[in-house]
């Protein structure tokens, strides 16, 4: 089997020059996006180039603690990024996001490594970075979506339906009964994108990992099997992370005395 054609720096430069298309569109339509486009282009190159170096070093070092540290850093960044996209925040939201991100993605990763792919049974070390890093990355990237959408919707629902929540409590509802509609809506919103992408995967989109394997001349039926597994890992991770963060948020916004604390929800900026 032959490897994918290696790309030279010159070939990459040609690819990168395609950003000019975006720039021209921005100028013609006066979108004012030129600066952000330039920054995005530079970040894409620098971040990927750096992670390439880091991964090369990690693969060669082959030490469990280095892999764990990288996984922790990835998890922290994802947890923070999820909060950055929310419209309303409450004290403790960062911790809630990181905890949900960490617990859901690492649990699903463990299931994948130990129970599904069974990496250690293949004579490889359990932390084998070729498996742990990309799998975790894909779970995190999608869980991030679920957590940020779920948190954002929870804050929005509880703000717009504040009178309803307050009335339910006054009528004798427990805090759970008063919050249930908002919680359901938030979890549903967080889970929608992954369900949508499961609906169209293979028809509209060829996922990145599968594309990579195909470029590497992998047997398409093998690449598909991996992709099926990954879709289910992502779906499970996203729903666990979303439910987790919504429940943690609920506990911060409702006291055990069945009181609602809308004052804790602060609109960003």
């Amino acid at each position: 089997m032959e490897q994918a054609v290696p790309l030279s720096t010159g070939q990459l430069a040609v690819a990168a020059s395609l950003i000019v298309i975006n720039g021209v569109i921005s100028l013609l339509l006066r979108l004012g996006l030129e600066r952000r486009l330039a920054l995005a282009a530079v970040r894409t190159v620098v971040q990927l180039w750096l992670i390439g170096l880091v991964l090369k070093w990690i693969f060669e070092a082959d030490q469990w603690y280095i892999v764990i540290v990288l996984m922790l850093v990835m998890t922290l960044i994802a947890g923070g990024a999820a909060v950055r996209r929310t419209g309303r925040r409450y004290p403790g939201i960062w911790l809630d996001s990181v905890i949900s991100m960490w617990a859901s993605s690492w649990l699903i990763l463990a299931v994948a490594i130990f129970a599904i792919v069974q990496v250690p049974q293949r004579g490889l070390s359990w932390y084998q970075p070729q498996y742990t890093i990309p799998l975790l990355g894909m779970i995190l990237g999608n869980t991030l979506n679920g957590i940020s959408l779920g948190l954002d919707r929870l804050g929005e629902e509880l703000t717009t339906k504040r009178d309803q929540v307050e009335t339910l409590l006054a009528l004798g509802a427990t805090r759970w009964e008063a919050a249930r509609a908002a919680i359901q809506q938030a979890v549903r919103t967080g889970m929608t994108p992954i369900i949508n992408s499961m609906m169209v995967v293979g028809l509209v989109s060829l996922p990145g990992m599968m594309t990579g394997q195909l470029l590497e001349n992998a047997d398409p039926s093998e690449a598909v099997k991996y992709q099926i597994m990954i879709m289910f890992l992502i779906a499970a991770g996203t729903s666990l992370g979303t439910v987790g963060v919504v429940l943690l948020g609920y506990r911060r916004l409702f006291t055990p005395d069945h009181q609602f604390l809308p004052g804790r929800l602060v609109k960003r900026r």
């Binding site: 339910l168 006054a170 009528l171 004798g172 005395d257 069945h258």
Partner: protein
Amino acid sequence: MPTEPTLLQARNIARRHPDGLRWLLQDVSLEVPAAGRLSIAGPSGSGKTLLLRALAMLDRLEGGEVRWKGRPVGRDGIPQFRRAVLYLHQRPALWDETVEAALRAPFSLAVHNRGQFDRGRVVRLLEHLGRDESFLAKRSADLSGGEMQIAALLRAVQLDPIVLLLDEPTAAVDPQTAAAVEELLVDWVGNSSDERALVWVTHDAEQARRVADTTLHMSNGTIRDGTSSTA
């Protein structure tokens, strides 16, 4: 006057403004006896609404406590307590499709699961307020402010609370209906073998005289004085 047992009691309750500098409620004590009709008067922003909310234990307090029949209310007992001490918001929230759906909804809550929506009883209450059965079929979204207050009041009364905490319940209704509401609620307290009481926040001194046997005056988060006007 025979002394009735105290139902609801606030002891030195205090609530701080979120900025931490001012007090929204400070050292407020009051007692609501069975068959008592208390009104609370005072300028806007004096803490009347916050006092009612505090009595229903809807807000966290920085000091003091609320007692029910002489005892503090435990955490797990709070939904049951609010079933007995029912607070009516000044701005009613009705989110169900129709008035009837809004009136049925509370019975799906755990504390009300022994109760059941009693259409005949609600229709009798409606007639008392100059409305009829067709009111139940109205869409919540089409209700006027006054109609929303009526619907919210019915939703509360049909749940058989023991103490009603009313936050300007007739602020948006027409004078004729307001008089009917006053009569209905005074009767509700007086003409019943059950222990009942009400606390009524109103701006209207005349209304306070009509509905209450005692009026408390609030300013700057404290109770200034109480006047008794028992007939």
